[in-house]
Every structure is written in structure tokens, then in C-alpha cells.
């Protein structure tokens, strides 16, 4: 009989079920009403932004937009686990995390409205802008982690992408070096079950995405991505591990894309409404609100005040965005190089004469 060369195990953690009932003992931070309301408020704020962004796109006032509907717990769980020393490298569906990190609503509207200034964050200066080419941010995260090590900084590079990204070579190549060099990097997968029209089951024969970590020699974990407590707890543990010099982790967050892929997509072409409806029962806001009501006396007026405040803030940000004139056309040349080259200044002159 051949002897077993190695063996692997994948845990899937969860603290709240879909109805908001606790499953076992909660992590310490989840006993604080203040912390939980902060997480809940951030998720509501994210969803309010999302609805406004879609409304603006539908009325021709924003570009193509990728909704994060139903996946807010991943964004907020990840970002709330991070510190200012860490560097975030997001995909295009993690608005909630960017907002938590200090990117402003106006900046997000600007970016999705087609203005590069939306990436010139006033805060979170070290964070990367949204990465559109899927999975290509993972090698960047390895590079940031390398720079962190070389400079003796206390941070961790945290990159996130969707389930489709795990089929790409960049994802594996980056994870492999994180393992080989024990780099301080945490890779998060928002497994929302869909890569545009291709479902998770058709994406890979792997039974979990987390197991892909084992090929790179780093730990892989699953977590209920609709449970913000579980996401935060898992990411905190991974960040602590990375900060202690023990290397990186891959975290697969299980969730569901309740929206179309983007505003340019029509998901009814490839999935049944009934399937989507079933997943609404497990969405992340409802369960945390239920828990807050049951355990911390979250009141109707608190809920109303929160929704009102988020609506007001998002409306104001949208108005500021809409009132911001585009940059002058020459802006397309001004940051190509640190110093404008002869060729480029000739183009800028041509543009001004045109």
C-alpha cells in the first residue's frame, strides 16, 4: 500500500446562521454592540451607495458599474480586520472595503463615472486602485509584501478577487511566491458563485477554492462570506499570522452575487430568478440586523436613522460628483511620465490647437 505523502484539511467558519442565530461561541469583538453596529452601518452604507450608483448608471450619469449586492459582509469583514499599515489591492466589486479604508463616496463615484481622479485617494494613499484585469493584482500584492519585508514595515498586503480569478495563472504564481518566500500577504476570494455567466461548478472541478492554497504551500480556509463576524475573525487571524512572519493565507468567502455581473450584464440570460430568490434568504445584512435586534436591542428608530443618514450622505456625495467638471483634456498626458516628454508635449499642443 502506498504511504500517505501529505494530507490537507479545510475548515469553514461561521458564527451566525442565515437567521442571525449564533453558532457556538462568538469571537471577542462580536460581543461589543458598538463594533457590531459599526460593521452593520458600513454594510448599509455600502448597499446605499450601490443602489445610487445603479440609479445613476441607468439614467446615463455613471459608466458601467459592478454591483456588490449581497457581498457586503466580505468587503466590510476584510477591511475592518485591516490596519492603516496594511495595503489593500481590490478587484472591482469591493466598494465597501474601499469605503471602510477611507476612500470617499465622491472618489468612488468619480472612478465609476470615468474620471481618473477617483483613484487619487485623499486617504488610504498606499492602497491600489481597483484592478479590472482579473487576478493581475495578486502579483502586485506579492510585490507590496516584498517591499514591506525589505523595508521592515509592519503591514500586510491584502488582495481580493472573485471566484473566476482562481482559474488564472497570476493567482497561482503570486500565491506560490507568497508561500516560497513566506511573504506577508493575505489573498481573499469573494466566491459569489458566478464569473459573469459561468457558475462556480463549471469554473473548476476543485471542491473548494481554498484548497488551491495547498499547492502553494500556504493555509487555505473557507468562511461563510455572508457572516461579517466570521469574515473579520478569519482575516484577523490571517493578518496576525502574516505580521508574525509566518506567511500568507488564502481565504475563500462563500457568498452569492444577487445582482447582474455589471450594469452591462443581464443575468436572466443564464440563471433563473427562483435560484437567486432563494439566496436572498442568506444575505448578510438581514442576519446581522436580526442578531443586533435579538442580542443588543437594535431599535426601529436606530434602523431608520441609519438608513436616513446613509441616504443623505450618499445623495450629497452623488451631487458633488455630478457637479464636478471633467478634467481638461490635456490631463490625459500630464501623468504619463514624471516629466512630460518631448513627444507628449507635442501631442498636448496638438490637442490644444484642435
Amino acid at each position: 500500500m502506498p504511504k500517505r505523502a501529505d494530507h490537507f484539511k479545510i475548515n469553514c467558519s461561521a458564527f451566525l446562521d442565515a437567521s442571525g442565530n449564533p453558532i457556538g461561541e462568538l469571537p471577542e469583538f462580536a460581543n461589543s454592540r458598538e463594533t457590531l453596529t459599526e460593521l452593520y452601518s458600513a454594510m448599509v452604507r455600502t448597499r446605499t451607495f450601490d443602489a445610487k450608483a445603479i440609479a445613476l448608471q441607468r439614467t446615463g450619469r455613471l459608466g458601467t458599474y459592478a454591483s456588490s449586492l449581497g457581498q457586503e459582509a466580505i468587503a466590510i469583514g476584510v477591511a475592518s480586520a485591516m490596519t492603516d499599515n496594511d495595503v489593500f489591492l481590490p478587484s472591482f466589486r469591493e466598494h465597501g472595503a474601499q469605503l471602510w479604508r477611507g476612500v470617499s463616496l465622491e472618489e468612488l463615484f468619480l472612478f465609476w463615472g470615468g474620471d481618473e481622479r477617483g483613484n487619487d485617494f485623499a486617504q488610504a494613499r498606499q492602497d491600489f486602485p481597483v484592478c479590472i484585469p482579473v487576478a493581475s493584482q495578486f502579483p502586485h500584492a506579492a510585490g507590496v509584501a516584498l517591499a514591506i519585508v525589505q523595508k521592515g514595515e509592519p503591514g500586510v498586503a491584502v488582495a481580493i478577487a472573485g471566484d473566476g480569478a482562481t482559474s488564472k495563472g497570476d493567482f497561482y504564481e503570486a500565491m506560490n511566491v507568497v508561500g516560497a518566500w513566506k511573504l506577508p500577504a493575505v489573498f481573499v476570494i469573494n466566491n459569489n458563485q458566478w464569473a459573469i455567466s459561468v457558475p462556480r461548478e463549471e469554473q473548476t472541478a476543485a471542491t473548494t477554492l481554498a484548497q488551491k492554497a495547498f499547492a502553494a504551500g500556504i493555509p487555505g480556509e473557507q468562511v461563510d462570506g455572508n457572516d461579517v463576524i466570521a469574515v473579520r475573525d478569519t482575516v484577523v487571524r490571517a493578518l496576525t499570522c502574516a505580521r508574525e512572519g509566518k506567511g500568507g493565507t488564502l481565504i475563500e468567502c462563500l457568498s452569492y452575487r444577487l445582482s447582474d455581473h455589471t450594469t452591462a450584464d443581464d443575468a436572466s440570460r443564464y440563471r433563473e430568478d427562483e435560484v437567486v430568490s432563494a439566496h436572498w434568504k442568506a444575505e448578510p445584512l438581514v442576519r446581522l440586523r436580526a442578531f443586533l435586534i435579538a442580542e443588543h436591542g437594535w431599535s426601529k428608530s436606530e434602523e431608520e436613522n441609519l438608513i436616513h443618514a446613509c441616504g443623505k450622505e450618499v445623495e450629497a456625495a452623488a451631487e458633488n460628483y455630478l457637479a464636478t467638471p471633467p478634467e481638461p483634456a490635456r490631463a490625459m498626458f500630464e501623468n504619463l511620465f514624471a516629466e512630460i516628454t518631448t513627444d507628449i508635449s507635442a501631442l498636448a499642443r496638438e490637442l490644444n490647437n484642435g
Partner: protein, 326 residues
């Protein structure tokens, strides 16, 4: 001053950069204890340690992407792609990220990285080792592309590339790595990244070329001088941005131009140079612009390589053609 080959000059520049700037870091495949497959990094790991001279996994996309991330977070990575034929997966990182990070963040994040790769044919290397794909790279806005053609220019241009605040692809003609030695002063002086070098002044015809073709063109110019044709030889050196002013003023003087490159003809950089001259120097031209290039075919294996690469005879013939025209 020491006589150095190009590979030694490159190593000297890397040594200097590592010494001068603690943020400079070298990584790539086999760059550590092996010193690189061409020995460009020979001895650097012994002097600067394994944390600054790092062997990566065999992973080109990673090498380029990691350079982007490291550069954006404050390092000055000098990454090596082992052979030009392996650069294709890297185009994603160069075109989508390195070249546009400054622009898309309006200057918040930048990418001061250098990607080195051996370049071109002529050393009877295996398949996928001898290509010249500089035009693909030069087509990417926001990227600088540099090709040295002598040991002192390799030294000065590589130092400039490493110190430049933006991404630079540094293509090293491997045929010139050890072909000659020249005096190189290891004084830390960089050369400009936007100036072509007029290697030989002449009156009758301008030859614009770069990389290993500079040696062929130099030989051609000598042969032509014996027949009374005076060649002005321009080593373009920085392919992006192109020093159009130097080329134009040379051709305005000579009235004739031959562009020589190893890469295939169609959509090669010779087309850009010819178009620029047609737009800006038409009234100075005495003859059609000629291009002497690799053929529009797949780079042959080593047995036929010499038939593919432009050589002195083809350059002399092309110059003869433009001289006969007028």
C-alpha cells in the same frame, strides 16, 4: 578606467545601483547563486545578500507583476526576464499596469521599475530565444524602451533606467554581451533616456539603427567610406520615447535614410521612423527611405539564423540603392 564587455558593464551598473540606493532590489530566474544565465548578476548575491538579489520561482507574470507592486510600494526593482521569447506573458503587466499606474492614479502611485531582458539573435540560441519584439513594447504608452549597443552606453543607460521614476524595459543585445570590450568609467554617471547617439558623422546618408545592428551598420559605414559614401550613423538607443529631433536633423543634412533593425519589417519601428521623416522632412529627402530588417517570417532555428538577420552586405546594398536614386 577598465576595459569591460557589455555584460561586465551591465554588472557594474547593477553593482553601482545596489551600492548607491538601498531600495534597489534585483530578482528573476537564476539571478542569485548562478549569477544569471548570461552572468549579468554574477557575484551580486555574495556582495549584497539573498534579500536584495533574489531567485524567483519560474514565473514570468509574477516577476513583472511583483516588480509593479514592489515599485509602487517604494522599492526600485530591477527584474530580469531570462529570454525575450518569455516576455509575452509579461505584456499584460506592462501594458495594463506598469505603464499606466501613474496616470490612472493621477500620480499617487508610481512604478519606478526596470525589466531587463536579453534581446535579439545571432548567438545560435534555441527556439524562442532570439526574437526582437521591441516594437510591441514601444507601442505601449507610458513605457520607456531602451536598447544599448556598447559597454559604456549599457552602463550609463542602465543606471539611468534604474534611477528613472517610471517603468523602463531594458533590452540587452546578447550578441554584443561579449563581442567587444571598451573603456567604461564606473563613475555612476547616467546617460539621458531620450537622446539618440550620433556615432559617426557623415554627409550622404543617415543610417538609424539600434542594438546589435549598430555593429553591422558600423562595418557597413566603413566599407561605404572606402567607396566614397559618407554615412552618418545614429544609434537610437532609446526606442521610446524616440529622439525624433536627432533623426530629423540628421536626415535634413544628408537627405537620405536607411533604417536597420532585426525585427520583422511590417509594423516595425522602421515604419514609425520612415513615417515621421515623410511627415516632417519631405522636402529634404533626395531618395525614398529604405528599411533593412528581419523578414516577415518566424525567426528561424539556428541553422538558418544568419540568413534572417540583416548584415553588412544588405545594409551596403540598401545604401547603394538610395545613393543611386539621387
Amino acid at each position: 578606467m577598465a576595459e569591460l564587455t557589455m555584460i561586465e558593464a551591465i554588472r557594474a551598473a547593477l553593482f553601482r545601483a545596489l551600492t548607491d540606493d538601498p531600495d534597489v532590489i534585483i530578482f528573476g530566474e537564476d539571478v542569485g547563486i548562478d549569477g544569471g544565465v548570461f552572468r549579468a548578476t554574477d557575484g551580486l548575491i555574495q556582495r549584497f545578500g539573498a534579500s536584495r538579489v533574489r531567485d524567483t520561482p519560474l514565473s514570468e507574470t509574477l516577476i513583472a507583476g511583483m516588480a509593479v507592486g514592489a515599485a509602487a510600494h517604494g522599492l526600485r526593482p530591477v527584474a530580469e526576464i531570462q529570454f525575450m521569447g518569455f516576455i509575452y506573458p509579461v505584456l499584460d503587466q506592462l501594458a495594463n499596469h506598469a505603464s499606466r499606474l501613474r496616470n490612472r492614479t493621477r500620480g499617487r502611485l508610481t512604478c519606478p521599475m526596470v525589466l531587463r531582458a536579453p534581446f535579439g539573435g545571432g548567438i545560435k540560441a534555441p527556439e524562442h530565444h532570439s526574437e526582437s519584439t521591441e516594437a510591441m513594447l514601444a507601442h505601449i504608452p507610458g513605457l520607456r524602451v531602451v536598447v544599448p549597443s556598447s559597454p559604456p552606453r549599457a552602463y550609463g543607460l542602465l543606471l539611468a533606467a534604474i534611477r528613472d521614476p517610471d517603468p523602463v524595459v531594458f533590452l540587452e543585445p546578447k550578441r554584443l554581451y561579449r563581442s567587444t570590450s571598451e573603456e567604461v568609467e564606473d563613475d555612476g554617471e547616467a546617460l539621458p533616456l531620450d537622446k539618440a547617439f550620433v556615432l559617426r558623422e557623415g554627409e550622404d546618408v543617415t543610417i538609424v539603427t539600434w542594438g546589435a545592428m549598430v555593429a553591422e551598420a558600423t562595418e557597413a559605414a566603413q566599407q561605404l567610406a572606402e567607396t566614397g559614401v559618407s554615412v552618418e550613423l545614429v544609434d537610437l538607443a532609446t526606442l521610446k520615447p524616440i529622439d525624433r529631433a536627432t533623426i530629423r536633423s540628421s536626415v535634413e543634412k544628408t537627405g537620405r535614410c536607411v533604417v536597420v533593425h532585426e525585427a520583422p519589417l511590417t509594423a516595425g519601428l522602421g515604419a514609425e521612423i520612415a513615417a515621421d521623416l515623410a511627415e516632417h522632412c519631405l522636402t529634404s529627402l533626395l531618395a525614398p527611405i529604405r528599411r533593412v530588417t528581419g523578414y516577415d517570417t518566424v525567426m528561424p532555428y539556428l541553422r538558418l539564423e544568419r540568413h534572417y538577420l540583416p548584415n553588412t552586405a544588405r545594409i551596403v546594398e540598401a545604401v547603394g540603392g538610395v545613393m543611386e536614386f539621387a
